[in-house]
């Protein structure tokens, strides 16, 4: 065991992991964080705390992570390359670790164009793979990116994200391999609807031996309505939603669409459990945290293992 991360313990013990996600509020209300995260206490092995997701200003990821940590829920502290240079990133990592955070996820970040500060400078001092490598070096070699020694280095369980469906298709597993080579301990994928393509992706990753080196958690997001299914299919860059899924959700009576979405999500989780190399799921129930326990229960993922 390299860290004190609960997620690492669960994965290392060979359990099928389940992580959740909470987006911090656009304000100072700590209670809002507690309310969302409260649904997930005891239901997931770690909860991702997003970092200014969709390039909208929100309560800082480390602060919301700390609130969640105090509730007895393990935060997966997200960090994007868009908003900070390597000095700020490293100091935040030191501070986060000092406050008890031990699991983090390294991301590029959505472009500012999508958020409410499209006029902001776009930092991107380093990219997400370089961020993984930097944290790896901080933890294992005890060295800052600049080369100087860190007194009492952090020990983070280091995560990265992967999108199996972005283009060019043939590069996707190769990029995953680069993230793992940079030092990712675990990977959480973009939400998956196209099971056929995901299976091909995992098959390739498995054949390349990547699943031996890194835990891969498959992303799932329940579709709340036909409208959401269409939005995901047509508006989200790098997302693939097969027509039959859009038809299935949109074709259900309006009042039954949410239940149909949950059913689909549960079926997908069952399928994912059977895919070689999938070490768990990452449930992103966007603004639907209160439905997460039901999904996890019905998917047979509760209770969570105590390790």
């Amino acid at each position: 065991m390299k860290t004190t991360s609960n997620l690492e313990k669960v994965l290392a013990a060979g359990h099928f992991a389940a992580t959740g996600e909470v987006g911090p509020p656009r304000g100072t209300d700590a209670e809002a964080v507690r309310k969302k995260a409260g649904h997930l206490v005891g239901k997931v092995d770690a909860v991702n705390i997003t970092d200014n997701q969709t390039a909208m200003v929100r309560m800082s990821s480390w602060a919301a992570s700390l609130i969640v940590k105090q509730m007895g829920l393990e935060p997966n502290y997200q960090m994007v390359c868009r908003d900070r240079n390597r000095l700020a990133m490293q100091s935040d990592i030191l501070g986060a670790y000092a406050l008890g955070l031990n699991t983090m996820l390294c991301l590029s970040g959505d472009h500012p164009r999508f958020g409410d500060h499209p006029m902001a400078a776009n930092v991107h001092d380093i990219d997400s793979i370089q961020l993984v490598a930097m944290v790896r070096q901080m933890c294992d070699a005890g060295l800052f990116q600049g080369g100087a020694e860190i007194s009492n280095p952090p020990k983070m369980f280091i995560g990265a994200a992967a999108n199996p469906f972005g283009d060019p298709q043939e590069l996707r597993v190769l990029r995953l391999a680069k993230k793992i080579a940079a030092g990712a301990d675990f990977v959480q994928t973009q939400c998956i609807y196209d099971m056929k393509r995901f299976k091909e992706y995992m098959h390739q990753a498995h054949d390349m031996g990547l699943t031996e080196k890194c835990y891969i958690l498959a992303g799932v997001t329940p579709l709340k309505s036909g409208g959401m299914a269409k939005y995901m299919a047509n508006k989200v860059p790098g997302m693939t939603v097969p027509d039959e899924i859009v038809k299935r959700i949109a074709g259900a009576p309006k009042e039954a669409q949410a239940e149909e979405g949950i059913k689909l999500c549960i079926e997908q989780i069952a399928e994912m459990k059977e895919i070689p190399g999938v070490a768990g799921i990452h449930l992103m129930a966007i603004e639907w945290e209160h439905r997460a326990p039901e999904i996890l229960e019905r998917a047979g993922l509760l209770p969570r293992p105590q390790v």
């Binding site: 590029s108 793979i129 370089q130 972005g166 590069l171 391999a177 080579a181």
Partner: protein, 222 residues
């Protein structure tokens, strides 16, 4: 080349308001090639300004001149004999030219007539696109001749990000995904092996983050 676009007439009118006689100074280099500030554009702007002033019942005396290069002290010297005749210089050069003129004629107000945009190339008639970010340490040899610094919206060295869709960038379907282009080119060159190498964090000192940059060539110093 350095690309530029002319400023809106209203902004230029604002610069001109206090003056009665100005030198409208074009440049024969990049801004000529991108139709922003060469001899022809000097003529067009002079006419537009004169007409706009006449409409307001005022008169602005505009003298047109175009130098070979405004970023070169040798050529900027050409206006030394006549500069006193003007209240101000309206430079149609890029920011480099404006500053060379302003640096040489310290007591003369100099105003930019164009917004300097980027280092780019012509894609087709009337379209220019950014190609080089001047980062000071060229990686084009490793990226199939496509620059991730200038052409990836997140300047990702180990791309593409998850937003690449059908060859286009997530920010705009009109923008090519640089990493799609890089990958296509590496395939065409039979050098996809280059992709697997992790490009390490860049040292931005060679770019503008190390402070304003200079090149000193000892062999050329006189």
């Amino acid at each position: 080349m350095i690309t530029a676009v002319r400023k809106p007439l209203e902004e230029i009118m604002g610069f001109a308001a206090p003056y009665s006689r100005v030198l409208l100074l074009g440049c024969n280099e990049c801004v000529t090639v991108c139709y922003a500030g060469g001899r022809k554009e000097v003529g067009i702007l002079a006419s537009a300004l004169s007409m706009a002033f006449l409409k307001e019942g005022k008169k602005l005396d505009i003298v047109e001149q175009t130098l070979e290069r405004q970023c070169d002290p040798e050529y900027v010297e050409e206006i030394a004999q006549t500069i006193d005749q003007y209240d101000a210089v309206f430079s149609m050069a890029c920011g480099c030219g404006v500053q060379t003129v302003a640096g040489r004629y310290k007591d003369k107000p100099v105003f930019p007539m164009v917004n300097t945009m980027f280092m780019g190339a012509s894609e087709r008639q009337g379209v220019w696109a950014e190609r080089c970010a001047g980062c000071g340490e060229c990686v084009l040899g490793r990226t199939g001749g496509i620059c991730p610094v200038a052409r990836c919206s997140k300047r990702i060295f180990n791309g593409p990000c998850g937003g690449s869709t059908k060859g286009k960038c997530e920010i705009d379907p009109g923008v090519d995904c640089a990493w799609q282009l890089i990958w296509d080119r590496l395939k065409a060159l039979g050098r996809t092996d280059l992709y697997s190498e992790i490009m390490p964090a860049k040292d931005w000192r060679s770019a503008k983050d190390g402070g304003p940059r200079r090149i000193v060539r000892e062999d050329l110093l006189s």
